[in-house]
């Protein structure tokens, strides 16, 4: 494998997203939403402004679960099928670059753009938290930002897989939207339905482990269940066994959500 080829393609992808102001636009969206939620997230409880680190993060987690998967899927669905439709895929593959290098270059370039916009978008709230709570507050928030980036990378990986298997751009975008609906809206409802339907009498911990099949749930566990103060705020907290509330374990599961779809995409793209 030639690292230079991967880097050349990644740099081009990254520059393209900076140039078309994609990074700027997404960072602004994150900034505006995160500020609004940070200040108004406690309004239901009759408070406005920064309350606590935990409540700020808890409010932001809900935002991230909706927004980051959507943005990552929109960023990645076009990556391969778009090049194929524009005729540039054949041109690029006629160069001394393997399909694996091509896929990795694409992924890393887009991942760089997504990471930059996520970090930039949430940094203003970080500054506010530092002002109020100093370094103690930033530790948890840093964990939140890292896990948000990982969630984005997992959905980007899924999007690239969709982009490899779809024959047309329109189909790839349909698949991406369907994935968003499934993981963000439908999955937890199904799980909750099954839990309630069985009266909680079957399976025991199995429902908790089923949460690992959804990267947004892994993200939620990473952020919410590691903080004792807010565990009780979430209905699902009662079903998560302590064995799962370990950041390194959840981090590994998230890592698998990044690697496995990308590996499947590679397998499909090279065969």
């Amino acid at each position: 494998m030639e690292i230079n080829q991967i880097f050349t393609l990644a740099a081009k992808e990254f520059r393209d997203r900076i140039r078309n102001r994609w990074v700027l636009a997404v960072a602004l969206v994150f900034t505006v939403f995160s500020l609004v939620i940070t200040y108004l997230g406690g309004a239901q409880q009759g408070q406005i402004g920064l309350k606590s680190i935990e409540l700020t993060i808890t409010s932001l987690v809900s935002l991230v679960i909706y927004l980051i998967p959507l943005i990552a899927l929109l960023l990645g669905f076009d990556a391969i099928v778009g090049e194929r439709e524009r005729g540039s895929l054949d041109l690029l593959l006629s160069f001394p670059i393997t399909r694996t290098e091509f896929l990795l270059g694409k992924y890393l370039g887009l991942a760089g753009a997504l990471t930059l916009s996520t970090v930039a978008g949430f940094s203003l709230v970080a500054a506010l938290l530092y002002q109020q709570f100093k370094w103690a507050g930033l530790f948890h928030y840093l964990g939140f930002i890292i896990s948000s980036v990982l969630l984005g990378l997992a959905f980007l990986s899924l999007a690239i897989f969709m982009s490899v298997i779809a024959r047309e751009r329109t189909r790839a975008s349909g698949l991406a939207i369907a994935l968003w609906f499934f993981f963000v809206l439908v999955f937890d409802l199904l799980l909750l339905g099954a839990l309630v339907g069985t009266g909680g009498s079957y399976g025991g911990d199995i429902f908790a482990y089923l949460l690992l099949l959804n990267p947004t749930d892994v993200f939620r566990i990473l952020n919410v269940f590691s903080m004792d103060d807010v565990r009780t705020l979430y209905g699902l907290s009662s079903i998560v066994p302590p064995a799962l509330a370990k950041p390194w374990l959840m981090g590994s599961v998230m890592f698998a959500w990044i690697v496995v779809p990308l590996a499947l995409a590679r397998w499909r793209f090279t065969s």
Binding site: T8, L9, G87, P96, I97
Partner: protein, 315 residues
């Protein structure tokens, strides 16, 4: 007909730039390419002609190692396109795909530098290359401001990066004006003179006719004819068309003289006669009409065009 190459003839393979041996590509029941044998020599400009769906694009993609053949093998400069050694050979290839859309947000020079890095070609080549294809004035403009012709020139520039030994050009003159087409072929002939092998497709057949050394006509996935334009005309026994300009009252005289030749077809046109005859009897016809002396105002001999040859073969 298509030339047949003895299998596993290595020395022959090294002499030729492109060696296609019994190559087929099947998509289910569809035979996109069906048992093609083809040899393109070093330093040759080779044309590939066919209707849409004739199989030439699939053959092109297989030659570039982008699509794996269902059967047969392809060697470029002696290296199998499906092997792992082919990565090195790719640095010696240039490819201009048909209707490629490049990156709107990058400038001409940025695009070319990206391709140069990918190919391992010197970055310093990029600016002179853009100048060579007439894009020096648009170096720093984003591609979304480029016209179709400018995009095509940029595509040609990227194909020339790294001094390729073999150039694959798919409909390269699409969107170019006549002057640019002329310049383009001048560049191609200069490249050919330095030993570069060029394989080119075009749907403007008249354009290729005067400019390629040899060509192949593809239809239904097979090579139907292969050779120089002259050889193809010979194979097809295309008739010559001789136009005679005469005064109106001299036309019957000329018709009378030509009626001695049984294989000649005469028709009256606006100011003279149109004569169809086999190539082999060209001199006899000229000898007969020359007896008309000063009554013959003008004479014009037309060869069959490549279009005629093409439609003759692919019908």
């Amino acid at each position: 007909m298509a030339s047949t190459i003895p299998a596993n003839n290595r020395s022959h393979a090294e002499e030729s730039a492109i060696e296609v041996r019994g190559v087929s590509k099947h998509y289910g029941a569809l035979h996109a390419v069906d048992g093609v044998d083809l040899t393109v020599k070093h330093g040759e400009i080779f044309g590939l002609i066919g209707h849409n769906g004739a199989g030439k694009s699939t053959l092109f993609k297989m030659m570039l190692g982008l699509t794996e053949p269902s059967a047969g093998e392809i060697l470029i400069n002696g290296t199998a396109v499906t092997g792992s050694d082919f990565r090195h050979t790719r640095r010696q290839l240039g490819y201009l795909p048909e209707n490629v859309v490049l990156y709107d947000n990058l400038s001409g020079i940025e695009t070319l530098k990206f391709f140069a890095k990918l190919k391992g070609a010197p970055i310093e080549q990029c600016a002179p290359m853009l100048e060579q294809v007439g894009l020096a004035h648009a170096l720093n403009r984003p591609l979304r401001e480029y016209s179709k012709g400018m995009r095509q020139r940029l595509g040609f520039a990227q194909a020339l990066l790294g001094k390729p030994r073999v150039l694959f050009l798919d409909e390269p003159t699409n969107g170019l004006d006549p002057q640019a087409i002329r310049d383009f072929y001048i560049t191609l002939h200069k490249l050919r003179d330095t030993g570069v092998t060029i394989i080119i497709t075009s749907h403007i057949l008249a354009e290729l006719q005067e400019r390629v050394d040899r060509l192949a006509i593809m239809s239904a996935g097979k090579i139907q004819a292969l050779g120089s334009v002259a050889q193809l005309r010979e194979q097809m026994q295309m008739p010559l068309v001789i136009t005679l300009r005469l005064a109106a009252n001299d036309i019957p005289l000329a018709q009378d003289a030509l009626s001695q030749l049984s294989y000649v077809n005469c028709a009256v046109n606006g100011d003279g006669l149109t004569v169809n005859c086999p190539r082999s009897s060209k001199m006899e016809v000229i000898s007969v009409v020359s007896r008309l002396g000063s009554k013959l105002i003008d004479l014009n001999i037309q060869e069959a065009s490549l279009e005629d040859v093409f439609f003759g073969f692919s019908d």
